[in-house]
């Protein structure tokens, strides 16, 4: 299937490519943050489009929390090889082992917060002056307020009250040494756009997104998948269900949804009928009204 020239997906695609090229042109050492989820897979796909026939001029950076689904890691390695990119892995486990970080306490510790330091250290190590991310404004209300070019100070912090005005298609990536930018070429995409585009362009995505049988436990309205990182409480038990994931983060906090959608068309039909956001299944966002904003201020991606 090819997209018509004037379709909204073509326009979004063109805008994203434009932004990626701006990053390549304006920065010395840009990197592309790769989580293994559909948005970052889409980012890699768009980056290939932006620089063809040359290779993607960014190395990929994965902040590995150590709590990944094995499917995600397999997919990651295959994709990296396929596009001929360099992959840098920042390990949260390594930062914990070195004593720089402490594991969260309690049942099913989340490493979401711990990612921040590891990410910043990895960017620092690579001397990255721009980090491309697949964040979308429709995901979360704090994201809706963020610019395409998001300035971060020497400590990697975002200051929502002091963002650079961003008008027309002119992006100001000027900065002093030590500061960097997070750049979000998918800002104007919605979850639906992403799925429609993946279907139209036949972009390969991990099997986790399609329905399959998996052992899960329901907790606070979230279906957690069985993994070495998730512990059961006394009154709980694993049950097998037909599920899929709308978003892929840590196995310890990403919720599955019951679904029989096993093709992209079925997923699109499901997404258009659903009444819950994709992050509705993310345990980490439910911690407070401003959870995402607070994490972003500290340097979260």
């Amino acid at each position: 299937m090819t997209l018509p020239a004037r379709s909204h997906l073509r326009q979004l695609e063109s805008e994203s490519i434009f932004l990626m090229r701006e990053v390549a042109a304006q920065f010395e050492r840009p990197v592309l943050l790769f989580s293994g989820g559909k948005d970052s897979i889409l980012m890699v796909h768009l980056a290939q489009k932006a620089f063809a026939p040359a290779k993607i001029p960014f190395s990929l950076v994965h902040v590995d929390t150590g709590h990944n689904f094995p499917e995600t890691l397999e997919f990651r390695d295959r994709l990296v090889q396929q596009v001929g990119a360099t992959l840098h892995v920042g390990s949260v486990q390594a930062s914990i082992d070195s004593g720089k970080q402490k594991e969260e306490e309690g049942l099913n510790p989340s490493r979401n917060r711990l990612q921040i330091l590891t990410l910043l250290e990895t960017l620092d190590e690579l001397k990255a002056d721009a980090a491309l991310g697949g964040g979308r404004r429709d995901e979360e209300k704090a994201r809706a307020k963020e610019r395409f070019f998001s300035h971060r100070d020497r400590f990697g912090q975002w200051d929502p009250k002091n963002q650079r005005p961003e008008l027309w298609n002119i992006f100001n990536g000027r900065k002093v040494m030590g500061e960097h930018f997070r750049v979000f070429p998918l800002s104007n995409w919605t979850e639906m756009d992403v799925w429609q585009y993946i279907a139209a362009e036949e972009v390969d995505i991990p099997s986790l997104y399609f329905s399959h049988r998996r052992k899960v436990v329901e907790r606070d309205g979230v279906l957690l998948a069985e993994s070495e990182f998730n512990q059961l409480e006394d009154d709980e038990a694993w049950t097998e269900k037909t599920v899929r994931f709308r978003t892929i983060g840590d196995a310890s906090c990403t919720g599955a949804t019951e679904s029989t959608a096993s093709t992209l068309d079925e997923i699109i039909a499901e997404v258009s009928a659903t009444r819950v956001t994709e992050r509705g299944g993310r345990h980490d966002d439910k911690q407070s009204e401003a959870a995402m904003e607070d994490r972003k201020k500290q340097g979260y991606f």
Binding site: Q11, P53, K145, P165, L167, N169, I170, D193, A290
Partner: protein, 633 residues
């Protein structure tokens, strides 16, 4: 499915958040968990109702202070269209935020509270929308439920606003009576207002014909990035800012003026026949040229304006006020140059739309300025082309974007004209040592009275071979036959003798035109209609000549003949020589031609007789030379 970007404006209590909430809700774009979160938060805050503003006010500080700090973007879709809403707050930072939201919008919704009618704010929003070139304005007259669904109220507000909008030149103005709270005429038709027969708000958004502001004619391709995987491939990556390009077409590269043709229009999925406005592609060229980021690829017959002195509307975005003499980075498309604000012409009071004299701009100020750039900028007027007509100023010390602007043209305001005249007579018009100006023996006015017509300069500009001289000769014959005093100055004539010492470098061309201007002035003062025919490729040089004469007496005639046609005619064989490389700086081939922005007269010649064109010009200048004689001081 296509895409429509719109912006919403309205003051705090006009119901903007409710309207956005209503649109999102009724198009099923709010998810249950989002709504639940908002309900939760509303309850915790003890607000007693579901505060839909919480849906849009995403930041901690916004919720703490109950205000909207920054522009947010919202998304929803119908089966026909995807919509991007730039949700701009109406608070303290209004100008900056409204300008930001409007910069990418194709339509603006101005919300008016039916109880209050047209307020200053509603006008302010309309003004900013029109300033930013938004041609579609939808005025939503809200809270109709609170005025008993009165048609009279609706009609009165419509009339008031339409009268105001006339001054703004909004092309498409639509009024819809709604109740955002109750949902009347937002998504569903209202049963409460049977007198209204127009579209609902969503229906209008869904069907309005957008994209008309996009410039699909003038091909402009700012080079973003050079793709160079190996020695064999060199692709110029960028997004088509306007117009279209096909493989095989002739192009010119600015600023170098080099010409070649397009070898291929490439994408990841393979080469394509053509690229349209908005497409991100990579272009390869038939000849290897040195092209880099910041250059612009255009068609040789359709050049943008090239200038270093820019007249612009500017909005100051920074807390730090404008500082005189400070150098800023001027960024327009992918091009960057050092620049300073050479003059603040006026500031606009956005509430009254009055102009004020100020020295400098502070936060949220908006007005007209002149900017001098250190390197030439290639642009179109913002009105004609948003992509090439917009720019930002960056403070080189803080790296912050301090201002944004919209280009009106090169510097040539009435004030500037007077200034140029002053400069031309005091600075640039050199005088030999020890000479004293005595004044003219017989004043111009007396000469004009005797002649029975006014003196004027008719300045023909256009490419070599465009037909300037033939038309000018015919025109002079016609005027002479009418009994007018005339003088014809022609490029070839003055370069024999008077300007025989000059070549064709930009400096020599400038001096050529300078001398011609002075000579024309002498003949003008003798009461002649002076007809000048010179390629005069640079706008600035023509402006300098213009500055020597009183307003209205310098008539610029642009002979607009396509380069291909000129080259086909090649009456003097110059193009053939230029193509062989025997002439180095040939306008249109290896040296740029700056198309006049606002010539008094523009004529086309293809397929027309010389006499026909000359007569057209004769009629056009008739009024000036006849009426001018009596009115001249």
């Amino acid at each position: 499915m296509d895409l429509l970007r719109f912006t919403t404006a309205g003051s705090v209590d006009d119901g903007k958040s409710t309207l956005i909430g209503r649109l999102l809700h009724d198009t099923k774009s709010i998810f249950e968990d989002q709504l639940e979160a908002v309900e939760d938060a509303s309850n915790r805050r003890g607000e007693g109702y579901v505060n839909l503003a919480l849906l849009t006010d995403g930041l901690r500080a916004e919720r703490e202070q109950n205000i909207t700090i920054d522009v947010a973007y919202r998304y929803f879709a119908t089966p026909r269209r995807k919509f991007i809403i730039a949700d701009t707050p109406g608070h303290v930072q209004y100008t900056r935020n409204m300008v930001t939201g409007a910069s990418t919008a194709e339509l603006a919704i101005v919300l008016i509270d039916a109880r209050n009618g047209v307020l200053t704010q509603s006008k302010r929003h309309g003004f900013i929308a029109s300033l930013l070139g938004i041609t579609h304005v939808l005025v939503a007259i809200n809270k109709m439920d609170l005025v008993d669904w009165s048609q009279e109220v609706f009609d009165r507000i419509t009339e008031d606003y339409a009268e105001f909008a006339q001054k703004l030149g909004v092309e498409d103005l639509t009024f819809i009576p709604i109740s955002a709270l109750k949902g009347d005429n937002v998504v569903d038709e209202s049963e409460n207002m049977p007198w209204y027969h127009g579209s609902t708000l969503l229906h209008h958004l869904d069907h309005v014909n957008v994209g008309s502001h996009r410039n699909l004619v003038d091909f402009r391709f700012p080079v973003q990035y050079v793709i160079r995987p190996d020695q064999d491939y060199r692709g110029y990556a960028g997004r088509v800012a306007s117009g279209t390009i096909r493989s095989g077409e002739e192009i010119m590269v600015l600023p170098s003026g080099q010409r070649t043709s397009i070898k291929s229009v490439d994408t990841f999925d393979g080469p394509v026949e053509e690229a349209l406005t908005g497409d991100s592609v990579a272009l390869t060229t038939a000849d290897e040229l040195d092209i880099s980021r910041g250059d612009m690829i255009v068609r040789p017959l359709n050049l943008p304006v090239v200038a270093t002195e820019i007249d612009a509307m500017l909005c100051w975005m920074s807390d730090e006020p404008m500082k005189g003499g400070t150098q800023y980075w001027f960024r327009q498309t992918t091009r960057e140059a050092k620049a300073f604000i050479s003059r603040v012409v006026y500031k606009i009071d956005v509430d009254t739309l009055h102009r004020e004299d100020v020295e400098a701009f502070g936060f949220n100020d908006i007005g007209r300025v002149q900017i001098q750039t250190a390197a030439p900028i290639f642009f179109d007027r913002y009105e004609m082309n948003r992509e090439t007509g917009s720019f930002i100023l960056i403070d080189p010390h803080t790296n912050n974007t301090v201002a944004v602007g919209m280009i009106r043209g090169t510097v040539r305001s009435a004030e500037k004209l007077a200034e140029q005249l002053h400069e031309a007579t005091t600075v640039e018009r050199k005088a030999s040592p020890d000479v004293v100006w005595e004044g003219w023996n017989v004043p111009l006015k007396v000469r004009e009275e005797k002649n029975g017509h006014a003196a004027a300069v008719v300045w023909f500009t256009g490419l070599s071979g465009s037909g300037k001289s033939s038309i000018a000769r015919e025109l002079e014959q016609m005027l002479f036959a009418e009994g007018c005093q005339t003088m014809l100055l022609d490029g070839d004539q003055v370069r024999h003798g008077l300007n025989g010492d000059l070549g064709f470098s930009p400096d020599a061309r400038k001096e050529n035109i300078r001398r011609v201007g002075e000579v024309a002035n002498l003949f003008y003062l003798q009461g002649n209609i002076v007809i000048c025919t010179f390629v005069s490729p640079f706008q600035m040089d023509r402006e300098r000549a213009r500055a020597l004469f009183p307003e209205g007496r310098f008539i610029e005639v642009f002979v607009d003949t396509p380069l291909e046609e000129c080259e086909r005619r090649d009456s003097k064989g110059l193009y053939a020589k230029a193509r062989k490389g025997e002439i180095e700086q040939m306008t249109g081939i290896s040296s740029p031609y700056e198309v006049p922005e606002n010539p008094e007269i523009r004529v086309e010649t293809v397929g027309r007789e010389v006499t026909e064109v000359a007569d057209e010009i004769r009629l056009a200048i008739h009024e000036v030379v006849r009426r001018g004689g009596a009115a001249h001081p």
